[in-house]
Symmetry: C2
Subunit: 326 residues, 2 copies
């Protein structure tokens, strides 16, 4: 079946048609997100983008059977309501209900963007062959999606998990959310960047300063990683602290959820074994019996959101089947 | 049906027969745990205790249909193996397999002691009417059991959760496990006692010192709570820090699992509203959308272990039913 998937982000919207037999994308399109234009503009744009990739293949809106949406925010999946998506100014939007009007014959489903990315890894990426896996996406913030027993984990209230705001250091640095020592304040790419910027000011001869041409505002997370890999002392210290922070986050997840595999997504995961080897070592020491079999880089990159969104209705049908029997 | 339940602890073993129609205990017995005497002695004792409460009711071992065991350790529920129970010196014991020989016609099941206590609250206590709930038991250590969607949450690797060793303060006090800043090192009754003991030494005129008759070794967690309730300044400070620590633990659980209700067990929960009101306030501020509907004291006290153990086979039958359909 050809499944329609949307990956909505603060900067852009990506749409694809996915062939669920081989997990190949047969058509796709990306456009800027209609910032500040409200719900109606968003729905119109999604419908138009769907037509743009579907009509050339002979698929009219009525012919779609499966439409999935991933979106950066807190989603109540059972009711299809986007409870909160501050960056998109779309709080309380009944997104599934609105999309159903555009695709009257489709199973429409919506979930958090990191949740659908975890689904993509489960169906078509690094989690294949595992019945449980946790994806942690590391960027400006921290996102997460978890598969347990072959199902997307929604938690008790049906909101999924929000790893970014668990406490790792009670008296730690302020988080954008107003609390202290959240995972996001200690494990995001933003943390690496901030440390790198301090480094440019404090150590103008350091490798990070060279890479940033002496300008703090030029520093990116990857510069800190590159400098650490090059053997720069200050950069190594920052990177080691980052590994420690991230290992605390991962160990906490292991003690709570014990996923069999953990995938890291986002730019930081490009550091590969330079990050994953020392991280795995620390998690092994800390999480003991709860250690995952593997920590890996997520394998689907930017396409994960679209692919996972496209497969979301399939997951929901499997879940409903189980629930009806219970 | 009369269900047999065992609550195995480091000090004692409790056995009961539970009438699952009204959740009443119709017979019970407690004996000391056979410390250091090995698996065979334990199994013999469990069998004898079962006979002691069953035979007077005309129930021979072959007539039991449901036998459940709760035990303080890491249990792989699907295989019925006790992976690790350091305090009992029983690592790697195939406890379900051994119990089946004693009760050949019973569904035998084993789980962690806090998991079965959570089950008890779900079937017969504070969690009735909720499809998700997290029980946190606070004593020398921290235990936890979680119900999600009416099922006992086992996590990806099937080991349940181990909240005691999640990280709350990366650079915090040492935990008995060898790591720093674990929940157990910051939220256990032991933490309250330790602070209380320092207080006796540092402030010999404080209310805690009076309650402990000036001897640090006399301080119990409840003395700190009593002194704080009496308005003692130092005790209040300790208690407020405790509330902060516990609120970090609970908020982290909310962001990961979003239980609809949270129950606190163990002696500390006797503080009632004096603890639960400020705790709820802090959790509301920190966990936002993920806040539980209620934080309450667990309602079954010492009997929770036996009752939950007795109901464990019923839960497993419901779970198997769901899984077979999936």
């Amino acid at each position: 079946m050809l499944r329609l998937g949307f990956d909505i982000g603060g900067m852009s919207i990506r749409a694809c048609l996915l062939d669920d037999q081989n997990m190949r994308i047969v058509a796709q399109k990306a456009e800027p997100f209609p910032i500040g234009q409200g719900e109606d503009a968003l729905i119109s744009q999604l419908k138009r983008m769907a037509d743009d990739i579907s009509l050339p293949l002979g698929l009219s809106p009525e012919m779609h059977r499966s439409v999935g949406v991933g979106i950066p925010g807190t989603v109540h999946r059972a009711t299809g309501v986007l409870l909160s998506a501050c960056n998109l100014h779309l709080n309380g939007m009944p997104i599934v209900q609105r999309m159903r009007k555009c695709f009257p014959n489709a199973h429409v489903a919506v979930a958090n963007d990191a949740d659908v990315a975890a689904l993509a890894e489960y169906y078509a990426g690094a989690f294949r062959g595992y019945d449980s896996g946790l994806l942690i996406t590391i960027g400006t913030g921290i996102g997460s999606g978890m598969i347990v027993n072959g199902r997307l984990f929604d938690g008790g209230k049906g909101l999924g998990s929000e790893l970014g705001h668990i406490t790792l250091q009670q008296d730690g640095p302020m988080c954008a959310c107003g609390n202290q020592g959240c995972a996001e304040a200690l494990c995001s790419a933003t943390w690496l960047e901030r440390q790198g910027r301090h480094c440019v000011l404090d150590y103008p001869m350091s490798r990070i300063a060279t890479l940033a041409q002496g300008k703090p505002e030029n520093v990116r997370a990857k510069d800190v990683v590159t400098a650490a890999r090059d053997g720069d002392g200050v950069a190594r210290q920052i990177f080691e602290e980052y590994v420690k922070n991230l290992s605390s986050l991962i160990s906490t997840c292991c003690y709570m959820m014990s996923p069999r595999i953990i995938g890291l997504g986002g730019g930081v995961s490009n550091a590969g074994d330079f990050l994953i080897a020392p991280l795995t070592e620390r998690v092994k020491r800390r999480a003991r019996l709860y250690v995952p079999e593997k920590i890996v880089a997520a394998s689907l990159g930017d396409a994960a959101g679209m692919i996972g969104a496209a497969m979301l209705p399939d997951m929901e049908q499997r879940e409903n089947l189980q629930d009806r029997c219970g």
